[in-house]
Point group: C2
Chain length 112, copies 2
DNA sequence: GTTTGTACTAACCTAATGGTTCGTAACGTA
DNA sequence: TACGTTACGAACCATTAGGTTAGTACAAAC
């Protein structure tokens, strides 16, 4: 019995899309950051207070990663003390409804 | 300016649902395994050939984890050579459509 | 009688993830 | 003059995720 009946159900383009998705949502904090931003603009310090369990370093690190992925954008104002604002990009807003649906997945598995 | 205007937009139950979701889908291979199973029943060796880049140890490890999470179930037949079959649970099937949508997220960010 | 196939386990290693602590600039406030 | 505030960077460490390699039982095929 050879493998010709084992069709690869995932096309290469589906596979790379999935990998990109995982880049964006995997990690302990990324979805939380995206959800806390939502459609709003928030300062770094606001986000830190909204997600109190994340460490400063990791928050900055994750924000930077999400910017590089094209999910977030950042505006720095030349003020003292510094002011920096973050918000979702157009693409980020576009996928937000799909990401919100992910809570329902967890809910299904938390049902008794 | 105190923090009373920083409403925690995520309720505790939403947060734990999100964490559960991340348990299920995070990791390099879990979504691929779930997608390759889909509505079918597959033997271990079939899965291994359908996801050729995964190592044997990691596939078994991830299958075991997904079983413990309630996403998959497994049937062992007392035969030689051994035969073991995997398929999604009812809950797994229930969230499958939502998980399929995740490819669209990556697609948005892969657009030029 | 040696090899092949199945579904694993065990031992070990590396790279990435997440966390802790400390330090920075320049201003407003006490 | 000392201190708090803001948004970070640097150095360092612990844990986890993922990977490699080897070995197991036992029947069937060659």
């Amino acid at each position: 019995m050879d493998d010709q009946n084992l069709k690869q159900t995932l096309t290469p383009s589906t596979q790379s899309a999935l990998k990109k998705t995982l880049d964006i949502i995997c990690g302990k904090w990324r979805l939380f950051i995206i959800f806390q931003l939502g459609t709003e603009t928030r300062r770094y310090g606001e986000l830190r207070r909204m997600i109190p369990d994340i460490s400063e370093k990791v928050l900055i690190q994750e924000l930077k990663a999400l910017i590089e992925l094209g999910v977030l954008e950042k505006k720095s104002f030349n003020e003292v003390p510094p002011r920096v604002e973050y918000n979702l990009t157009a693409r980020g807003l576009k996928v937000l409804p799909t990401l919100y649906q992910l809570t329902s997945v967890g809910e299904v598995f938390l049902e008794p």
